[in-house]
């Protein structure tokens, strides 16, 4: 352990000072030495504590003298005197402890500023519970959002695809129109030119007319069918007990929403 010197230099073992290991309060090293038969002896350093500052002059101020400074007449100074000189200062040691007023002040301060251990632990528990709650809520939210992720990703892909398709469609349509225009007008028309726009209007009108025609034709066809159905019904009515063919579709009259 500590007899390293004795171990390393056995011939100088007599130089090592040994100390009796005895229990005592206060853990400072002392400077007393004696040889011991105890085998758990150890080398303890020669620490010489600085001498306690005993005031040889022992100045105790005269309170009645007006020349003594004010601070030397205070209770605080008296306490310090007692601390330095002890009983020789002439004061009763009870001055060192707080007076009733001072004690009340200190107690009030403690009450106002110092929390008890239980209160502090409660505050900590509350804080930790809140943190935990927030953490769990956040994790739940994240988990829920992550569950939605595949769907959202798919959505995004879809949208992109649709957009692409639309663009391509628009492009194709435009090219188609340009080709038509070229056919009609005989040369490469620029899409921004007024002629092109005029041509577009023409096409539109033509299409509208065609649509109308188609509609009229449809209506005519429907009327014919209806008449035919009526005729067969009439014919069927003459013979009692005959079955009527009700398979002819009878649609409601369409309104013009062109």
């Amino acid at each position: 352990m500590a007899t390293s010197m004795a171990r390393e230099f056995p011939r100088l073992a007599f130089l090592c000072n040994f100390r009796v290991v005895s229990p005592c309060l206060g853990s400072s090293t002392t400077s007393k030495y004696c040889r011991t038969q105890n085998d758990t002896c150890m080398q303890v350093a020669r620490y010489r504590a600085p001498p306690f500052p005993l005031d040889r002059s022992r100045y105790i101020p005269d309170k009645s003298d007006p020349k003594t400074p004010e601070f030397q007449k205070t209770l605080k100074f008296d306490r310090k005197l007692w601390g330095r000189h002890g009983e020789a200062s002439g004061f009763d040691p009870s001055i060192c402890w707080p007076t009733k007023a001072e004690l009340a002040e200190v107690q009030e301060e403690e009450r106002d500023w110092c929390l008890t251990l239980q209160e502090m632990q409660q505050n900590i528990a509350i804080r930790r519970a809140e943190e935990e709650k927030a953490r769990i809520a956040r994790e739940k939210r994240i988990a829920a959002n992550m569950a939605k992720m595949p769907k959202l990703i798919e959505q995004v892909h879809e949208e992109r695809r649709l957009k692409k398709e639309q663009l391509e469609e628009a492009k194709k349509r435009k090219e188609h129109l340009i080709a038509k225009a070229r056919e009609r007008l005989g040369y490469n028309v620029h899409p921004n030119s007024p002629k092109f726009e005029a041509m577009l209007e023409e096409i539109e009108n033509e299409e509208r007319k065609q649509k109308k025609k188609a509609k009229k034709a449809k209506q005519e066809a429907m009327r014919e069918a209806f008449k035919a159905a009526l005729a067969t019904a009439e014919a069927a009515k003459i013979q009692d007990g005959a079955t009527i063919n009700t398979d002819v579709p009878l649609k409601a009259h369409k309104t013009q929403d062109d």
Binding site: M1, A2, S4, L12, L15, V21, P23, C24, L25, G26, S27, S28, T29, M42, Q43, V44, A45, Y47, A49, F52, P53, L54, D78, R79, K80, L81, W82, G83, R84, H85, G86, E87, A88, P93, C96, W97, P98, K100, L103, V106, Q107, C114, L115, T116, L117, M120, Q121, N123, I124
Partner: protein
């Protein structure tokens, strides 16, 4: 010297009586160190006294440090960031390595037969703890954990897991306890405090942000449950792979189990006691109000 003599006997006498060699009683051989002679300026014509020739240098009108002739200087260009915000108010725990602790124990400056706290470390000059510098105690550091070999009952303010494991593996105990600045003042210089004529105050409880640390068994806090601490000791031994020595079989078990009361500052002295250094006596209060106050 009276015991000086000639030959082997003389030499042996010298060895017996001369003090231990230290820095205070040796000196180098004559001619070992050469102090270069101070040289004056080359020749009599130079009489500038080291100030140079004309200009701000000689005339002593140089601008302040950091000034760059008028453009915004470097130390003002760089934006601030709160790395050092309130750094002067943060708690500091100067480190004490296990290596140094082992050295002090080997040199006999620290007595392992008594509980070791900050007071004994200060007396043994392990560290210089100054409460005025926001020092709140000692931080036991792992350096020297592999050579540490002492059975101690030590009380520090912070220690890492490995340091705790090292101390416990060698059959010792370690506790983490909190001292508020006033108590630290007393602990670091007890005798200086006793001369002030103030009774020993109660040690304050740790602030809220330290309560968790000092009530947890993993950090061997002084406010923790002893049963939890025993469990934590076993867990740590398992974690680091050593066999935890059974302290109840120790001859020093009583010493190793000495702990301070949470309101106690010094070993052997309670709150509210007054120490008379002249008569070497201890005075205790008898007023019931005071007793109640100091016991709370």
């Amino acid at each position: 010297m009276a015991s000086a003599g000639k030959g082997t006997r003389g030499a042996l006498n010298l060895l017996k009586n001369l003090p231990r060699v230290g820095l205070n009683n040796i000196k180098p051989l004559p001619g070992a160190f050469f102090k270069a002679p101070r040289r004056m300026g080359g020749g009599k014509s130079k009489r500038k006294c080291g100030r140079g020739h004309k200009g701000q240098g000689q005339r002593g009108t140089r601008p302040r440090l950091g000034f760059e002739g008028g453009n915004t200087p470097f130390y003002l260009r760089i934006p601030k960031y709160g790395y050092y915000e309130n750094h002067s108010r943060r708690r500091q725990y100067p480190p004490l390595s296990l290596y140094r602790l082992q050295y002090l124990i080997d040199m006999g400056r620290i007595d392992t037969t008594q509980p070791i706290d900050l007071a004994s470390l200060t007396i043994g000059r392990a560290l210089n703890i100054n409460p005025k510098r926001q020092h709140y105690g000692i931080n036991l550091v792992e350096e020297g954990a592999d050579i540490f070999q002492a059975k101690i009952n030590i009380e520090v303010q912070y220690a890492s897991e490995l340091a705790i494991a090292t101390v416990e593996r060698n059959g010792g105990t370690i506790t983490m306890s909190y001292y508020d600045p006033m108590s630290l003042h007393i602990l670091v210089d007890p005798i200086g405090f006793f001369t002030k004529g103030i009774p020993i105050p109660k040690r304050a409880l740790p602030p809220e942000d330290l309560v968790e640390y000092y009530t947890s068994a993993e950090s061997r806090g002084y406010l923790a449950d002893p049963k939890e601490i025993q469990k934590a000791r076993l867990a740590l031994a398992e974690k680091y792979g050593y066999k935890l020595p059974d302290l109840s079989l120790e001859e020093r078990f009583k010493m190793l189990s000495i702990r301070k009361d949470p309101r106690q500052v010094l070993f052997g002295l309670g709150a509210g006691w007054l120490v008379d250094m002249n008569r070497k006596t201890v005075l205790k209060p008898t007023d019931p109000e005071l007793l109640e106050f100091y016991k709370s």
